[in-house]
Symmetry: C2
Subunit: 354 residues, 2 copies
């Protein structure tokens, strides 16, 4: 199979982890006889520095023309405490999501057995937890009108959802539930928000077409609590953009570390695959970032965009084998990990490739 | 001291738990020689059934005329899956918050040592955690304009904040931090939301008046993760209405159970004290609800609205003694709790009163 893969490292540790992800893809190509042709593109802070824009047109065109994108992260502390900055790295990410029509963000939360000890949550609560989040990614308060009023003394953000936007992701989530444990939990705040009431109406409607899937409706606050109290009760979780942002970061603790979690953003065209962690400038350049989320993003890419299930599983098994052999990055090491088994970004990458 | 206390049980287990809270207040009055005069008022589903309104004027007047309100919970499953219901129990709660100007909701998250085992989180992660949330309660997407457009095909909710709204709660949070470990974490989503950027600007401004308080800014998604990963890093957490709703429910797991958490809503006039748990219709009428959140709400009421520190501590110590004696309600019992020590709502109330 011949495919064009665009590598978009972005900022901070995005550079370091996508480099490992790419090497793993190379190894797969070699082993299974595929040809992957790579190109690179800028986004985020590095793009602003180079071009003044968070997502230059050239990058967007390259994305549209590639078969899949392996993405790193965006963000820089410089902007975080400057609420008045006009151009921000995150705008590049949001524009990419909108322009590529990436309306569904899939975040599988599954704990490798070897990491049971790495989480703050008790092993007996975690063991067997396996959740697939469907986070809506191109609507909600992220993309509505926003601004200042009253001479700058007040600010507003408008959240919106259309029935069409809810229905298309709901169908994808129900289809996925069918291939899993046939349970779907739709999360909203329908006791307060009108967008949530519309969301719930649509999901109730779509649910009629999937009588074999057991549906549950939860409020976002209760869900934030239940994810920790009893993660095993969830199978597929379907939710809006902002709630999904919060709940999936929280749920990373079920998997031991953010450093292990991959995500797939899919929609109308090219799919984008990225770790759920951010640019982590505090550890950038130290060579200690955990590249496994990027490696597992490459596995999702092969599976979802190219239909290469065997190749995808080969990567997941390699990560599992490295963990079984006792190797760890610093973020997932615990008191029982011997010093010599704690590896840096590249070294653990080499182990995975082996 | 002579004071008027309004009991507003609301729906579901609200009835059962406020009854215990009131008995404990009675005991305090007797023991410390105060006179508490009680009245009752309707809110929520029970108010809708009786009057057609979620917060009848009579209830609101009684609230305004009392020295403090001991509140239960509102909500009924009947409305939850009927997104088109026009009158909803929650409207009563939101109207009360707005009409009484209850702009600051204080939620102390502290684990009684005896409950270390009751949480899903590992004891070594929890031990020593002590967080005080300041959740803004009368602004944000809860109170902005909302509705349908495009012939009902799309919905919107407007989030707003003014500088004034942020400043008044920020000052309260900084003042509280001064009396504690002098750390404040302001939580927002300033990388996406304009309301968050305004929020952060104002907090940065207010912080200048409190140079002795160490301030940190976090995004809401990262905070949802950090609360579980390392709850001890937080002291005072200041955040907006919607984020506070989600994060405090999540943080309830730090305290072992929602059934233990009290909150104080304060502002321009009468203060309202209530459990953070909801109406819990699944266990209503079974006599097994944990009344300790209501009892601890009564303790907050005495402390904050009446300045009765000693009386307030007497209640907290009584709850602690009951836990030390090994008594539990079902929600906080674990495998090691002997059957005869698992008590119902009234029975554990009697133990606390003793
Ligand atoms: C960087 C930020 C804008 C982004 C989001 O909020 O969607 C990130 O947190 C994510 O989850 O991908
Ligand atoms: C019942 C609901 C409207 C309410 C809220 O969202 O504020 C509740 O969850 C709370 O936290 O008091």
């Amino acid at each position: 199979m011949k495919k064009n893969i665009l590598i978009v490292p972005g900022d901070g540790i995005g550079q370091e982890v996508t480099a490992v992800g790419k090497k793993v893809l190379d190894k797969i190509a070699e082993k299974f006889g595929h040809e992957f042709v790579y190109d690179e593109a800028l986004i985020g802070h590095v793009a602003i520095e180079a071009t003044g824009e968070a997502l230059p047109d050239e990058s967007l065109q390259k994305m549209k023309n590639s078969d899949a994108v392996l993405f790193g992260a965006v963000g820089h502390p410089k902007y975080d405490n400057d609420p008045s900055a006009k151009v921000r790295p995150e705008q590049g990410l949001l524009k990419m999501r909108k322009e590529l029509g990436l309306y569904a963000n899939l975040r599988p939360i599954k704990l490798f057995d070897e990491l049971l000890g790495a989480s703050s949550i008790k092993p007996e609560i975690l063991k067997g937890a396996d959740i697939l989040f469907f986070r809506e990614l191109t609507g909600d308060i992220y993309f509505g009108e926003k601004g200042r009023k009253d001479n700058g003394d007040s600010a507003y953000d408008i959240a919106t959802y259309s029935k069409f936007e809810v229905e298309r992701i709901a169908r994808k989530a129900f289809e996925a539930a069918r291939t899993r444990r046939k349970k779907l939990c739709s999360v909203d705040k329908a006791n307060v928000l009108e967008t949530s009431r519309l969301w719930r109406e649509v999901v109730q409607q779509v649910a009629k077409d999937y009588p074999d899937v057991e549906v549950e409706y939860q409020f976002v606050d209760a869900t934030a609590m239940l994810l920790i109290k009893d993660p095993k009760r969830f199978d597929v979780v379907l939710t809006a953009n902002l709630f999904g942002d919060i709940l999936t970061d929280e749920a990373s603790q079920i998997a031991g570390s953010m450093g292990m979690l991959a995500s797939a953003s899919i929609g109308d065209g090219t799919g984008v695959y990225e770790p759920i962690h951010g640019s982590a400038h505090d550890i950038t350049g130290k060579g200690i970032a955990n590249p496994m989320a990027s490696v597992l993003s490459a596995a999702l890419l092969l599976d979802i965009s190219f239909g290469l299930k065997e190749e995808s599983n080969a990567i997941i098994n390699a990560v599992d084998a490295v963990l079984k052999a006792g190797f760890r990055t610093a973020d997932i090491a615990d008191a029982s990990t011997p010093k010599e088994k704690i590896l840096g970004t590249d070294a653990i990458g080499e182990e995975i490739i082996k």
